[in-house]
Structure formats: C-alpha cells, structure tokens
Amino acid sequence: MSDTGNGFWEAWRLILSLDPDLYEIVFLSLQVTVSAVIIASVIGLPMGAWLAVNRFRFRRYVIAVLNALMGLPPVVVGLFVYMMLSRAGPLGGFGLLFSPSAMIIAQVIIITPLIASISHQTIRDLWAEYHDLLISMNATRAQRMKALLWDGKRALLTATLAGFGRAIGEVGAIMIVGGNIEHITRVLTTAIALETGKGNFAFAMGLGLILITLAVIVNLLIHIIGKTERASTW
C-alpha cells in the first residue's frame, strides 16, 4: 500500500524535477499515439460511413468481423508486425523494426477496427434520420458520407477518443515491435512494465499516474475544443 502512496509523491517529484528522460518518454508516448490515432481516423471514419450508407451482399459479415477485430489481442498484432518488419519479413527492407514508426503501424492496426466500428454505429443512427432527406435531395454517395461525417463530427470524437484511450495504454504490441529501447522507443507503458519488472514499484506507479493524468487531460482538451456535451450544439 505504501508503494501506491509513494508512487503519488514519486509522480510529483518526477514532474517537478523536469527530468529530461521523463519528458522524452511522455513526448514519445504522445507522438506515437497521436500519429496512430490520426492515421486510424483517416482510415476508420470514412470506412464507418461507407459501411453505413452502402448495402452489399456480405455487409453483415464485414461488420461482424470488424466488431470482432475490436478485441484483437495486441500481442498477436505485435508479433504479426514484427514478422512483417523483421529483416526476413516482406517489409524488412525498410528497416523499420524497433523504431517509433513500427510502433505506430502496430497501433494503427489495433485501433482502426475500433474507430471504424464505433463510427459505423454512430453514423448508422444518423443515416436512419437523414436517409429520406438526402435521397430526396439526390445527394451522391460521396456527398451523403461527407454530410454524415460532418454532422456527426461531435459524436465521432468519441470514436476517436476510444482509439486514443486504447492506444495510449497499449503495451503488448509496442513492446514487441519497439523493443523498449531507451531514448529511441521507450514510452510510458513500456517503461512501467520495465520498472515493475525491476521491482521499482514506486517509480512505476509514478509513471502510471502520469499516464492516467495525460489521458484525462487529452480527453478534456478534446471535449473543450469540440464543444461536446453542450445542450445548444449537441
């Protein structure tokens, strides 16, 4: 129990000491996760809209698979990306293994299904509301998707934030493809795993509190910028 309490003070000591190593880790965590969220949103949001407005033969199966992929085990994704990027793998020539890029690739694979699936559910509801109007106005498929993504943008922030939450706390995949190399691929989660393994519980706990605080701050900032949860704008 005292380790938890010590962790609290350790967190403050770390933050106030302006330890450059700590800020490096925090910065890399944010850099990797934000990049992954942006890439996954660019892929996942239109995919969700596309699935909502198009009717095709295997639609139900595609959506079922997508929902199943939300629970993709990160360790397996890590292993898969590792094999793709390792020297012997098909993408080995790029030399990306044990780099932040490899971590971003792994996270994109993990969170794209999540973002696509949540945005599909959101947009499906909005499409049910808009359907007759947009058909009546003779909007093309691309115009329908654009209108739904735009008008549902605040609800879609939730999908993006869910992706952020999953990515920032993810450890299995980025440990494998990043390697937790100090000053290169060490992020908050992998550092916590390392420090815990070494028995530095207070230090690990301090990093853990910083990680949680970081996630909360990012969520709050997005909500404030996005003006969500306000009655006048929905």
Partner: protein, 236 residues
C-alpha cells in the same frame, strides 16, 4: 426543360411482401395544386413517395417527360415530420445548393435571402434541430424551394402545427403555386383541402378512387367512399 407531365402506370409499392399502395394509374398535368386526401392508412404518403422516387415501384412504372435522373434534379419533398440536419439554419438552406456545386459564398448569400423571404431571417444563426415545430416546417419548405423545383411534394406538412403556423405555410404555398410551381400535397384536414385544392386525388386502401376537379369532387363525389369521407363518416 419541363419534367411534367408525370405518368403513373399501374405503379405498385410493396414493403416486405405487404402491399402499401397500388396499382395506381394517373397523370399529373403541368400546372395546378393537387390535394391527395383519404383516411389514415389510405396510402397517401406512399403515393407521394412513389411519385418522388423515394419508394421503389414493385410493379408498373413512374415516368416523367424527361429521363428520371434529369427529373430528380427538379423536384423537392417536404416531410410530415421535418428532418433537420444538425447545422445552423443558414447552412441547412445552403446545403441543397452546395450539393449542386454552387460555391459556398454564393450559396450562403442565396440562403440568407431565402430565409428573409420565408420569415426566418432572425434565425439564420440558430441551430436547426432546436427550432420550434412551425419554424422547422417553414425551414423545410424554404429548403425545398431554394432549388426552385418544378414540382414540390408535401406530405401532410401542417399535421403537427398550430393555426398560425398552418396559415403561414398555406400563404407561402398559394404564392408559390401562383408563380408556377406544381404542388402535390397530402392532407387529412378537409378544411385545408377545400381551401387549397384545385384538383383532388381521393385514395382508399391503397387505390385511387377518384381524381377530379376540386369543386366537382367536393360538391358531387362519384364514389360512395368519397361521399362518406367528405360527409365526415368513418371510412373502412
């Protein structure tokens, strides 16, 4: 480019094996104010949706004087419960123009002018889903008319409105009709039908029982169902 007359030949609509309306055969001439009347469940909404193309024909055909893709550009529809996009009023009004490729500044200018014409000038920056029922329906009407359609379909546009909002809508409709827009509207308010109709389509159980001049329909209906409906009886 005139898209009318509109011809329905044995047009039928089904939903999951159940017949909603039809077979309906009729012609809509180029001018006029047609009122579709009939008891609840008679298929008035389905008929309008068939004409507009929102409801697929399961049998028969709906044909315009021009190819269907051309005709779609020149018609608009006002729904019974207004569908409000989650945007500001001015953006809602500009949207149909934006769909047609009008640049944003011009679309907004037209939208602003249109809002003033329909008494929505003070609400330009309001959030559309938060308007009152009457304001929403006026916005729907303005949004439908901003593309200057040749024909406008209205599905019980005043069903949920109070007297004042209804009067405003009716005034706009008469004005629009006087300027040459073809109007097809459903209602089960007989008073409204008498006030506005130039000709009448009477529907019952998915079938058109009568299509005639309004004056003749109200004074001398030719079918017993229409006679009963006008005199206020329950039509089964």
């Amino acid at each position: 480019m005139v898209i009318l007359p509109l011809t329905l030949t044995a047009a039928t609509a089904h939903m999951r094996g159940k017949k909603l309306a039809g077979p309906v055969s009729l012609t809509l001439a180029q001018k006029g104010f047609t009122m579709v009347i009939g008891p609840n469940g008679a298929g008035k909404t389905t008929l309008l949706r068939l004409m507009h193309g929102l409801q697929r024909c399961s049998g028969g055909a709906v044909t315009w004087a021009v190819p269907a893709s051309e005709a779609r550009e020149k018609q608009a529809f006002v729904f019974q419960s207004p569908i409000m996009m989650r945007r500001k009023v001015v953006e809602c009004l500009a949207y149909p123009l934006r769909l047609r490729g009008v640049p944003k500044p011009e679309a907004r200018a037209s939208a602003t002018a249109c809002a003033h014409r329909f008494g929505l000038g003070a609400l330009l920056e309001s959030w559309a889903p938060l308007l009152s029922g009457g304001e929403k329906q006026k916005l729907s009407l303005a949004r439908a008319l901003i593309i200057e359609p040749e024909i406008l379909f209205l599905d019980e546009p005043c069903a949920n409105l109070d007297g004042r909002a209804t009067r405003e809508i009716e005034t706009i409709l008469q004005d629009v009709q006087a300027r040459g827009t073809r109007l097809v509207m459903s209602t089960h308010d007989m008073g409204q039908a008498r006030r506005l109709a130039q000709d009448v389509i009477f529907m019952h159980k998915g079938i058109v029982h009568e299509q005639s001049d309004a004056a003749r329909f109200f004074s001398a209906p030719s079918t017993p169902e229409a006679k009963a409906f006008i005199s206020g009886d329950i039509v089964e």
